[in-house]
Amino acid sequence: MGCTLCEISNCFLRVKFLCSLLIKQGVILEKEEYVCLSESKPEIAETRTKYQRFKIKTEHAPPRRPKPFPFYPKVGKMGLFKTLLKETLAYNFKLLKEEYRSVLLSRPCIYGVFSGPVGGFAPRRELCTGCLRCVQEFPDFCTVERNPEFNKFADSYWQAKDPTKESTSPYLLIVNEAENGKIPVKGMGYKGSFADQGWDTIWTDMSEIVRPTRDGIYGREYISTETFIGGRDIVSSFQTLTHQKIRRHLKLTVPIIFDFLPPQISNKIVIESIAKASKEVGTYFTATADQVTQVRSEFLQNQILHISTREDLERKIMADAVEIDLGSILGLKPFEEEVAGIYRTENWLEAMKIAEMAKDLYPNSVLIFKLPLTESARTKVVELVKSVQIDGVHLYADYHGQTFADDFEFQEFIKDSLRRVHECLIQEGKRDQISIIASGGIILAEHVPKAMICGADIIAINTTALVALQMKFKGECRNPYDSGIHLDGFSTQWGKQRLVNLLAAWHYQLLEVLSAMGMRDVRRLRGDIGRAIFKEEIEMEAFGEIKGFRTTGGKKF
């Protein structure tokens, strides 16, 4: 009996040790994180009682200006009048009975388009869902057109590609998500084009049988979206494990942060809303020291300090995390074609020196270097990681997801360049040394898992936050410096809630994708191209033998 008890006791201790080990390595991340095994070891039971399921609290945040509506019902007034007259005469004295009156007044719209005081004579167009029942009932004098104003709210990247065939747009989706924080659910199947370009050419995988659940029911595992910014050192033996110092890192509840928004497209209210939302959700935002001077310090715990000038770099402001825009410090205008020149030898040597200097100036901060995505970015990122122990690299494309190119390179969509950087770091054995933050053209919830599959650890959102806040676009906005976005005022409480709702909706959608893939941890998604279906590859496999496929290359006609 005694022996059995000893065995149980030993077994318990082994399990406890293993759990602590996993927590330390970041395999398990609980609410409370334990830094080192040599410190006091909290009881597992205690941890359990402290565990809380992560949930972002949403609250309805109504739009502050009318939302775009895709449909425009039109009713011929004479036709409507004649129909009403005809029905009245047909029912005649029967109209004294309530049921006949209700039949006469029953309207051909269950969504309330004709529910105004004068019914079809003044339709409430914003309520139209495009069901077309009115047209089916009265095709002689009812029709529903596409709203010509529908696409005027944002630039081309945010619009419906062809408003004569589409009744939704990225802009409308984000505005709705920011309003209610819910997953958009609709009936009927997919209505869009097959898989034209960009993120649409990737499908995430699913599993028929192995699957955790989004809600932890049926005894299956919860899904974690927790992740971190910062590198990890590979531990090769248990002896070194207990003495090894864990590298500093930032822990995020969702793999999404708010990107740096320069003053051209942000103001105090925007920054404060973002800061508050970051704190509430448990993620981070990037801003300069000047941008947050008027934000209360309690909301600045989640700030990543953005530095884009040499003077700011040398100010040595205390910060948990610092993002250094190497191109800007070198005087290369970010988002412009010239920024691709950062990887030219003379510029790159200077950039490396700045990186070294930053390492000395900010020894206790998580160091992130912001670099433009270009064709040659992959080798340079590896070089940077090898030379300077950095924690993260922020690779950015323009706001439409296009990478940068100078005379010797070509532009492409962010997904391809990102994938190459990730693969190059793996080949060099350096991938786990840094986190990759990606931004540019990642504007919808579905883009997040796809960008992660292409190699990103974290996604930084920019224009999406502004769309959630219902900012107005003035023409194209490919970068923050062309001032394509019009700023206006609102309360920070409203702004915060819109952004919290947005993150909640994205968090839920990320859970849906992970659930379908059978993954219980968002970090597993990073670079897992084996769990994605790429159009170019699958189409060649399926249609390669079919006449005309290779000659047209599957290209769009």
């Binding site: 449909f71 049921e99 209700s102 039949v103 029953s106 269950i110 969504y111 869902t129 495009g130 077309l132 029942r133 047209v135 089916q136 009932e137 095709p139 002689d140 029709t143 529903v144 596409r146 589409e166 997953i183 609709k186 009936g187 009927m188 199947g189 997919y190 209505k191 869009g192 097959f194 034209d196 499908w203 995988d205 699913m206 599993s207 028929e208 192995v210 659940t213 029911i217 049926y218 005894g219 579905e446 796809k450 959608q509 849906e512 994708v513 659930s515 379908a516 893939m517 994605a532 279906i533 699958i538 496999e541 399926a542 249609f543 079919i546 006449k547 005309g548 047209t552 769009k556 006609f557």
Partner: protein
């Protein structure tokens, strides 16, 4: 119980809607600019109305063959040896459009007269009238329809020889008698429109009757688990098959799965677990409600999955022992024929049947009272808007028109049976979008 006031309302709106659909079908009124999308273009919707109204092939000025999605079926075309064949010159008796649903040497032989049957649409997601109309049409056409996962309403019993009982992950309405009723039992592991997420029926549509059928609470949203929480392997799936076989030893087994990257492995596993039919449902399939993120982004379109599975089953030497059925975005007779040319034996049709009885593909099925003209609804009033006989006739008409198109396709390709077309990718070419 339908009251007089309700009866009057139903009569008024129903007759107006039916008249309007016919006017649109004949192009006597201008189709509204808001009709259609890339996949279901205005031409496809109007031509489906036309076929459902007349049972005839639509006039040539309507593109009734392809959509404008710029990919998949819309860029695959037949390389006809003989073009512009007129159906009146085709001898109907010389073409065999039937397919076997059990290709194994053992078990009951079931042959359907056309290469399609109706997909699962549950009670609650669609109205009872539509459900019964689909069963009635299936009986007349010697094919099948499927219950979906919402149970087996008694009104379907007169057509039980043509109704497939679906056993889905929520097991809603699954009972021993409903399994005994059916000649085919379909296990639904996943659905193309929401792969890996389980079924959704939002609270508004869970009426008292729907809740009773599903043994659940009224007006409380129902989410099927994903996947079967008793299945973690092909071996576990085999146990499910055994359970069905104990209850109904003669039933054929169909396994409905989505299209993951390893769909061919799932197919072969299902075969070895005893399936007669492997039903793959592609990413662009229809649904009563699904997260938008799932429809577009999870799992591959059916056009890619069919050749993948077909070739793999061939390589494994079991292709002729199993029936491969494709679904998810198959909208027209031409899509069906292309799916077969890519390697399927036949197809399952859902949305086209909805369109046949007046659906506009607006996608409002999930909200509030559901479909505004009584197709995808659980609303007691709207449910009466589609009369059973009227709807059944239109579905039959649609398939009669499709049969004419299959014969024209076979004649143009110099084939005599639809089975001969299977896997003949050499008869296809990859070209422009739609009719380009």
């Amino acid at each position: 119980m339908i009251t007089q006031g309700l009866e009057l309302k139903v009569e008024k709106h129903s007759s107006h809607i039916n008249r309007g659909i016919d006017l649109l079908a004949q192009l006597k009124v201008q189709p509204p600019a808001a009709l259609g999308n890339y996949r279901w273009t205005p031409d496809l919707i109007i031509s489906t109305y036309y076929q459902a109204m007349t049972g005839e092939i639509p006039p040539k000025d309507l593109n009734y063959k392809t959509g404008l999605s710029n990919g998949g079926f819309d860029r695959l075309h037949f390389d006809f040896a003989e073009k512009n064949i007129d159906h009146s010159t085709v001898d109907e008796r010389s073409f065999d459009l039937s397919i076997d649903l059990n290709r194994k040497s053992s078990g009951k032989k079931i042959k359907i007269s056309q290469p399609t049957y109706g997909g699962g649409m549950s009670f609650g997601s669609i109205s009872l009238n539509f459900m019964v109309a689909r069963a009635m049409a299936a009986q007349q056409l010697n094919t099948f329809t499927c219950t979906g996962e919402g149970g087996y309403p008694e009104d379907l019993l007169p057509y039980k020889d043509n109704v497939i009982t679906q056993v889905a992950t929520g097991l809603f309405g699954v009972r021993e008698e409903t399994i005994r009723n059916s000649p085919i039992i379909e296990f639904k592991y996943a659905q193309g429109a929401k792969p890996g997420l389980g079924g959704h029926l939002l609270a508004d549509k869970v009426t008292t009757q729907v809740a009773k059928m599903r043994d659940s609470m009224a007006f409380s949203s129902l989410f099927s688990p994903s996947p079967f929480h008793s299945v973690y392997s092909v071996e576990d799936h085999k146990k499910h098959v055994d359970w069905i076989k104990i209850t109904n030893p003669t039933a054929l087994i169909s396994v409905k799965v989505s299209t993951p990257k390893d769909v061919e492995m799932v197919a072969i596993g299902s075969y070895f677990a005893g399936a007669n039919i492997i039903h793959i449902d592609g990413a662009f399939g229809g649904t009563g409600a699904a997260p938008e993120i799932a429809k577009k982004n999870i799992a591959m379109p059916i056009e890619y999955a069919i050749p993948k599975v077909h070739k793999y089953l061939e390589r494994e030497g079991v292709r002729d022992d199993i029936t491969l059925i494709a679904s998810g975005g198959i909208r027209t007779a031409y899509d069906v024929a292309k799916a077969i040319a890519l390697g399927a034996d036949g197809a399952v049709i859902g949305t086209a049947e909805n369109i046949a009885i007046g659906c506009t593909h607006c996608g409002n099925c999930e909200r509030g009272r559901g479909c505004q003209i009584g197709i995808a609804t659980a609303d007691p009033e709207l449910g009466y808007y589609r009369p059973v006989d009227w709807a059944a006739t239109r579905i039959v008409n649609l398939y009669q028109a499709w049969k004419k198109q299959y014969r024209i396709i076979l004649a143009g390709l110099g084939l005599k049976s639809i089975s001969e077309l299977r896997g003949r990718t050499d008869l296809l070419f990859y070209g422009g979008n739609g009719n380009e």
